[in-house]
Symmetry: C2
Subunit: 256 residues, 2 copies
């Protein structure tokens, strides 16, 4: 829990402040429904100007964690479920954020030409090679998810220098400077195939929760295409929406 290195960090002040405020809320230091310190107080407490404090608070407001109006002090709102990019993109990050221990067993890492279906999804020419990784992911030792990732060669080649049994591919790639910036996730259900069934210890055909993901670079190129299959009694997806806030999640129909 030791994470106080404010002077070395190169993050802007307002960002550090909003992170700090977020933690005060999630840790219960600032309780739900209670007003938080006035802007003037926060200014003197952290030795910054009011503009900076307001910038930090605006970030929390846009996430729905804080409400309030003119004259009234801002209050901590009902916690809105949301996850950061890294937490949502990476199984390992996700597990750590929950205080659980992620595990992984690599079953295959191979370079092979993309079939027509995959090439279409990734915007490649059929036959262009991709790096395929098949891993079994676990939480606290319990098999939870079967992960099938396909990387474009430029990204995937870096993986041959990485022990995919050691942890987060997402973390490794970002540390190598690969700019994963956007993800598109399609969630559906699928019956377990023979591989899924054996790895997860269920009957073939039993229902699995599937997250099909495309990961994009900043310039719009598709870097990765994955197919993650969860045991539905071990992991779910949750979203909340209100009359005033549109849901970013979309239910889409599929044409026959």
């Amino acid at each position: 829990m030791l994470k106080y290195v404010p002077s070395i960090s190169d993050e802007p002040i307002h960002q550090r402040l909003s992170d700090l405020f977020r933690e005060k809320i999630s840790s219960g230091d600032w309780k739900e429904g209670k007003p938080l310190p006035s802007e003037a107080e926060l200014c003197t407490q952290h030795g910054v100007s009011r503009g900076t404090v307001r910038q930090a608070l605006a970030s929390l407001r846009s996430e729905g964690m804080v409400t309030g109006g003119r004259g009234k002090p801002p209050v901590v709102a009902r916690p809105v479920p949301s996850q950061s990019f890294a937490t949502f993109m990476s199984f390992s990050e996700w597990a750590h954020s929950l205080g659980r221990e992620p595990g992984q067993r690599t079953l295959e890492i191979a370079r092979r030409p993309a079939d027509e279906d995959l090439a279409g999804k990734m915007g490649l020419r059929p036959g262009e090679p991709v790096i395929q990784v098949l891993r079994l992911r676990s939480l606290d030792g319990n098999p939870t998810m079967v992960e099938r990732s396909n990387f474009i060669v430029e990204v995937g080649n870096a993986l041959f220098g990485f022990d995919t049994d050691s942890g987060s591919i997402f973390g490794y790639l970002t540390s190598r400077g690969v700019d994963l910036t956007r993800g598109r996730h399609v969630i559906d259900a699928v019956g377990a195939d023979a591989t899924d069934a054996e790895l997860l210890g269920v009957e073939p055909g039993s229902a699995l929760l599937r997250e099909h993901r495309l990961t994009y670079a900043a310039d719009g190129r598709i870097l990765e295409c994955s197919d993650d299959r969860y045991l539905p009694h071990l992991a779910n997806f949750v979203i909340e929406n209100t009359r005033t806030a549109r849901a970013a999640l979309v239910r889409v129909p599929l044409v026959a």
Copy 2:
């Protein structure tokens, strides 16, 4: 600055600006992928200071309509998929927004005491009565989803005066003044039971995509608890996230 500015609207300037910008984008005046005028330009164009322009742009950024970084002019982002509250909450609204024809066949509408599990989810005492509705929903005549809804009696009693084969329960309830304001949706996978299988025309046990929903009133009371099971090849859920915008969707673990 001028003291007497007879403004037509009493909205703050930054809000009028962001509304104007939003319309420029949706009308196609500012095209997707194209950079929009620099902040300095917008300042002189509208005769305001840079802070105000930035405040307006920040609003668009938080909605994901605009991206950009230091040094680069802001660009109009790819439209972010999102659905309004009504579209996301109501099967009929959803179908209509897609130009498809929703259908429904009511198989059962009954008043019976809530079992322990349901009572726990809805915050009722076990044995308190609920109104249960079982419907088969279809898109353009194709069976798509099995809908199991449970309403608290206060809401559900209104349904006995409504032909549940005629259309949207959500629409009917809102027209009757029931204030559905918030929804919490849990998405997972489940094997088809005998009823699902017969209605949807699949084998028992085959994978279905389930949306488990709690609908809340403005005062926090739970009005409805539903279990919708989709044919996974006919409907999916999609969400996008970026490095800068946290996903409102959350992947949650379930304890054993």
